[in-house]
């Protein structure tokens, strides 16, 4: 009885989060094409932040490198879904060992999963580094990963078209598909959070040495989280490519990283609910700012380019000063339970919430 109750309670959060994203998807599917576009981008962002949250939220280690996984996913999708005829034109001088890329072809759904797998391979390769580092060093190492991937994609012209755009990707990402993957990402991220490995990682986040002393292999769990989040971010990149139809390597560098960091920090980077809500809120905010910049609210006169970025940066600064742990902190959204309300009504102990609210900021 108690067991099923706790299971029910812990299933609340993903269900509520999927409900929220479904709401965005619903708005996107009934409204005009502009809103549809915004809602698909928001759903893809949800996939990404749910992925990054699997690592950042559980380990408390901030990463600036997850956009690299997104880039790998997007490029893999490009190779797998651009029609073969067009590919021979786009990549006339593939080096011998990679000739198979010109012939490779897959349906969109397998392509999404294969793209996730490609990002997962990069995740496995880099996992030993992440397992060893934390704090600032990890921040720098993940930033270095982003720069390396960007540099290779930008420089390897024969294979990646360098700084020219990747074109001719068929549009496959619909609102429904994006919603399905957003739901999947939320479920996977939540399942990891509640798994043995995820809980041990959270314990290490709260007190590294206590966790180590209790026999938690922090590095191993951090690597597991890293690989899972790499897969989900690769899926996000694949969906993004399938939505944009053409993209440029500059889409996967610092400005994208910054946009996702705003989402995660605004919502609260330690909580999955925070990341997802942040993604939805910031996606809407970005669209609002884009319209502001185009002059839709100022009588048609466009504001200079950069206003949107400036406001976004200001929002982030205010959040960091006022609420460093974001809107959600370490909490997850859930329905107010009857038992707890009853206890509170009777002036009962706040003990049940205390450990959550007392959780300290990881150093």
């Amino acid at each position: 009885m108690k067991m099923s109750g706790s299971l029910l309670r812990s299933a609340q959060t993903p269900v509520l989060l999927i409900g929220l994203t479904a709401l965005i998807a619903l708005v996107g599917s009934v409204a005009g094409p502009t809103v549809t576009r915004v809602s698909i981008v928001a759903l893809v962002s949800v996939v990404f932040v749910a992925g990054q949250s699997a690592f950042t939220g559980n380990s408390g280690v901030m990463s600036f490198g997850h956009v690299a996984f997104m880039a790998v996913g997007a490029y893999a999708t490009a190779y797998l879904t651009i029609p073969v005829g067009l590919k021979t034109v786009l990549f006339p001088d593939l080096p011998g060992g990679l000739g198979f890329l010109a012939q490779a072809q897959a349906g969109f759904l397998p392509a999404v999963l294969l793209s996730g797998a490609a990002a997962l391979v990069l995740g496995v390769v880099t996992a030993p580094v992440v397992a060893r580092l934390s704090g600032l060093q990890s921040g720098i190492a993940t930033l270095a990963l982003l720069i390396i991937v960007y540099n290779v994609l930008n420089g390897w012209t024969a294979v990646t078209r360098g700084s020219s755009s990747m074109i001719g990707i068929p549009r496959n990402t619909t609102v429904g598909l994006a919603l399905a993957f957003a739901a999947l990402a939320i479920v996977v991220s939540w399942a990891y959070r509640r798994s043995r490995s995820g809980l041990q990682l959270q314990a290490a986040r709260e007190d590294h040495w206590a966790a180590v002393a209790s026999g938690v292999a922090v590095g191993r769990h951090r690597a597991i989280a890293w690989v899972i989040s790499a897969f989900l971010c690769g899926v996000a990149g694949s969906l993004y490519a399938g939505f944009l139809m053409s993209f440029n390597v500059s889409a996967f560098f610092l400005s994208a990283t910054f946009a996702f960091i705003v989402m995660i920090v605004l919502g609260g980077y330690l909580s999955l609910s925070g990341a997802v809500i942040g993604a939805l809120v910031v996606s809407v905010l970005q669209e609002f700012l884009r319209r502001l910049q185009d002059g839709q609210f100022t009588g048609g006169s466009p504001l200079p380019a950069g206003v949107a970025d400036l406001i976004l940066a200001a929002v982030l600064l205010v959040v960091l000063v006022k609420a460093p742990l974001g809107l959600m902190g370490v909490r997850e959204i859930c329905l107010p339970s009857r038992a707890r309300r009853a206890r509170r009504g009777a002036g009962g102990s706040p003990g049940e919430k205390a450990p959550e609210e007392g959780a300290r900021v990881p150093a």
Binding site: P128, G139, A141, G155, P304, A305, G306, V307, A314, V321
Partner: protein, 291 residues
Amino acid sequence: MSVDFLVAMVGMGALYALLTIGVALLFGILGLMNFAYGEVIMAAAFAMYVFRDQPWPVAVGMAVVFAVALSLLSERLAFFRLRDADPVTLMIASFAVSLAVQSLARMTVLPRAQGVSPTGFLTRNIDVLGASVSVRDLLMLVLCGAALAGVALLLGRTGLGVQLRAAAEDFQMAKCLGVRADVVIPCAFAVVGLLAAVSAIVLVWRQGAVSAEMGLQPMLVGVVGAVVGGMSNLRGAALGGFLLGAATTLLETVLPTGLIAFRDAFLFTAVILVLVVRPQGLLSGAKVRVS
């Protein structure tokens, strides 16, 4: 090794060491990994562009003023409120400051890159020890070397320097011993602005152009050099920057032309390896301290 190559390599090393110290100083005192450092450099370079028709001492002077002003302003507006925050929060905040300044620049004065034609004497070559060395490389070496010596003097010989070093060592303890945070922190930001201005002058002379994004590369160099060298002491950080600069020049010469596009990939792979093998930085374990 020819003389001109040596001058270029050491000059680049000195420039990178300068960039690194700018990052490491603030990190030591505040725990702030300053991504907005590149934008301070951009502000100085912007001054060089605005005053490009004036005699060069005016341009150089204004570059210093702009950089110091922006550096102090960023402290007052953003980092002042985050003094007790943890390093990662500070890092994200500086990311935001960097983006804000960059978009400010883009929406007002630098929507696209602007050329700054080099002053006449910069394009000449002169003879040093029988080899022809470009004045540009030589000036980079001299200017950055002088700035490094200046920093070493400031930190080693002046009262302010002692306070700065004490604060970088252990800010809590320094405060207890009478180092005033409200004096030391703005001073540190001012010194950083000054160093950024010197780097910016050299960079503008080398690139001949100013753009809103020009701060990125120097900022990355500073951050990476500081991490590689070890951030707990300034001399280690400077050495890290120097090695990075020398390695960059060396890679450009040694790498086959087909791989030159991947210079950054090699460099940052090396950075990751250093982090994995010695997360505390190359020099941290050895008890090397400034002065």
